[in-house]
Symmetry: C2
Subunit: 256 residues, 2 copies
């Protein structure tokens, strides 16, 4: 485990916008879930198909929650311009007449992995820890101050790299993965970059006092935990020690 | 892992009250967290002091949430008699002029284990998975139909045995544990029994249709997950594979 430096530093005096941004990036370098061992295993081809199924099935819960949290956020915004700006996050995931959207692209992945689509959508096989983390994220965005609700999306600053690593790694290392199945990630590469830039600009402009800046940091750390917990739960259940909690998805190769 | 039979059965026709009770007990026999390997390790003396500290520190989050969830429940009850009946659950944990209460008894345990009391109360070292699960429980009791809010307390049907096993096992197996530190569990032995009987009587009387009875079962399964997730997270972080998530409590023997 990396020694945590930026993540534990408290902001006591207001930082410049640039220094705040630098601080947020330093936290990402310490805490983003690309550092989790499960992602190394996933991207390097070390998992079997059942383990990849478990990942995709659980990650669906997170994907499915994104438009709910973003619509909840829009529902709290007084500023029409900001609502308009945020709206495409909902349609990016839910789709439009012209675009199937991110959730459907995720289901194309789970289809391709051989998972029953209704089972995936039901979340019945998802790990309880995944569900609790995802619900905590939705609630956070609904209930916390708007600055923190916006700032909790800042993990997208670090997303493009993980999508690139995942696409390249999974295409190269798994014979059951092809370009079509990876279309979710391919599309997110551009979406996540512009979303993250917008949220970062918002935070730079609205987090002025030390207290506001610490709130932003706390929101980012909260969201890092939401992401990390999901991988911890996958690792625990499906890698090591491989203790699948009662009622959760059991891959074919783990059936007695 | 035990084959799940009762836990996956759907109630399609109304059961008699006795048959419903039997069904709830059957779920307990399959899913209660006394079955989790972490509890076997804890009670049998297989953990070191740092691991027991991690357990007590994380379990504090759950203890601290109980009076909040019970007060939230009372705040939703129209029936004065039922509110009066439920109130002692708040004072059992928060204490009164005459009784220090369960939360203070838990802090006596964490004190005795050498943990800083303010650190424990801050929850700063608790596992994110613990916090998400505990918050999910509070929210469930606040937001779900009253029948399910009440039924989610039914895990107490199975609590006396785990308290007895824990008290006997920990006193016998750890030289850093004494009667004083175990006072929380000793006191809960009687409290949990009468609380569980009351909730069971309530559920027997109010869950009449198959749909209501399934709601009760779902509430019990939800709560089983809240408890199981906490032990999964402890096992993952502090036993096997021992991956402590960034920012969580690190026992002395795990420091680099």
């Amino acid at each position: 485990m990396t020694e945590l430096v930026a993540s534990v530093k408290k902001i006591l005096e207001p930082l410049s916008a640039d220094a705040l941004e630098e601080h947020l990036y330093a936290i990402g370098a310490e805490r983003y879930h690309n550092l989790h061992p499960f992602h190394h295993l996933l991207h390097s081809g070390a998992l079997n198909k059942g383990q990849v199924q478990a990942w995709a099935l659980n990650r669906y819960c997170y994907q499915a929650a994104i438009p709910m949290k973003d619509a909840s956020l829009i529902g709290r915004i007084e500023d029409r311009e900001l609502r308009r700006e945020w709206l495409h996050r909902v349609t990016d995931h839910d789709g439009t007449d012209d675009d199937e959207g991110g959730i459907m692209r995720w289901l194309i992945l789970t289809d391709g992995l051989g998972l029953d689509r209704d089972f995936v959508i039901s979340r019945a096989g998802a790990l309880p820890a995944t569900r609790f983390a995802v619900e905590a994220y939705i609630r956070y965005v609904r209930e916390m101050p708007l600055l923190q609700a916006v700032a909790s999306s800042l993990t997208e600053l670090f997303a493009p790299k993980i999508h690139r690593d995942r696409i390249a790694g999974m295409l190269q290392n798994y014979d059951f993965i092809d370009d079509n199945l990876m279309s979710y990630g391919t599309r997110r590469l551009n979406q996540a970059t512009s979303d993250a830039e917008f949220a970062l600009t918002y935070v730079r402009a609205h987090a002025i006092t030390a207290e506001q800046q610490q709130m932003v940091v706390d929101a980012l750390l909260f969201k890092m935990n939401v992401l990390w917990v999901q991988l911890d739960a996958l690792h625990m259940a499906y890698v090591e020690p491989g203790m699948i909690p009662p009622g959760a998805f059991v891959p074919d190769d783990r059936r007695g």
